[in-house]
């Protein structure tokens, strides 16, 4: 039985499936696509990147880090004044040493101030270096 007009129309439209680009077209297509994608991302700029980060899976970690920074800044004790001046070049001090493993830091109580801070200078043997720490009672 001969196909009717509807069937023939369907056959002609399906024949359009043979309209296909060649391999060279796809090479150019891929190269252009990558360039366009890069340009699109560059246009987004840092604001877009930040927005993606805030919307992304790292959002809880980012929020936690932000909270930690805020808490640290708010609860950090004020730096005691005069700590730089608490390291005179020549001072008499009471030397306290502790028995310990070879190479251990010799602890020296440097100064007990009225401000409630104990300034300790720790000389590291054989290095000529020293670490100054301030401890609050």
């Amino acid at each position: 039985m001969e196909p009717d007009a509807d069937e023939r129309l369907g056959q002609l439209l399906r024949w359009k499936r043979w309209e296909q680009p060649d391999a060279a077209f796809w090479e150019r297509f891929d190269a252009t696509f990558q360039e366009k994608r890069l340009r699109s991302l560059a246009r987004e700029g840092w604001g877009g990147w930040l927005l993606r980060l805030l919307r992304g899976p790292g959002r809880p970690a980012l929020a936690a880090a932000g909270l930690l920074c805020a808490v640290t800044l708010l609860t950090l004790p004020p730096r005691p004044e005069g700590i730089a001046a608490a390291v005179p070049r020549e001072t008499e001090f009471l030397l306290l040493t502790q028995e310990g493993p070879a190479g251990a830091v010799e602890e020296e109580i440097f100064d007990e101030g009225d401000d409630g801070f104990c300034y300790v200078s720790q000389a590291v043997p054989w290095t000529g270096a020293a670490v100054l720490s301030a401890y609050h009672f």
Partner: protein, 208 residues
Amino acid sequence: MVDGALLSRPGPAAEVPAEWEDGALATAAQAGSVAAFDALARRHRARLMGMLYHLTGNREDAADLCQDALIRAFCHIRSFGGRSQFYTWLYRIAVNLALEQMRRGRLRRFCSLERLAAAAESDGAVLALASRLKTDRALLMKELQQQINGALQALPPKQRAVVVLAEVEGLPAGEIGQILGCSEGTVRSRLHYARERLKELLHHYLEG
């Protein structure tokens, strides 16, 4: 979202298994894998390009739209909820983009025909037609390509979209409705009117 792979030239998506289904690739792409998205793009770009070419009748416009649709999908990959097939979602982006460009008159106003695969000459429809019209197959193919594309371009864009998706792409009415954002009834209605119009325009090739 983007890892370092974006900065390199495109190559095989070595870190993504080739046998992964679209859903798995989409999930990986949503997690930030550019390679996974590129695998999806390679898998669907030929069909996407074909659909856009049949819709616009212009090869260069179709290529531009295809790339723009893929970029849009890339940038909005997280909005793919998995409620439809990935290609349905991708087609929807592409068709909406094409219809939008048509509405704004931003597409070229002439047909630029695509290359025909060699197998087109031995297609049953062409053989039957060449025999009925008693004409040379090579000449007939050139003529057919121009006439069919011209007839499609004479349809209103939404009717053209339905015909392309139904007849050329072979999609069911339900999926077409998802792509175009309309009911199955609307799809069937548009398809009916589009076919009637095409039969008028192409009657020379359809008569017994």
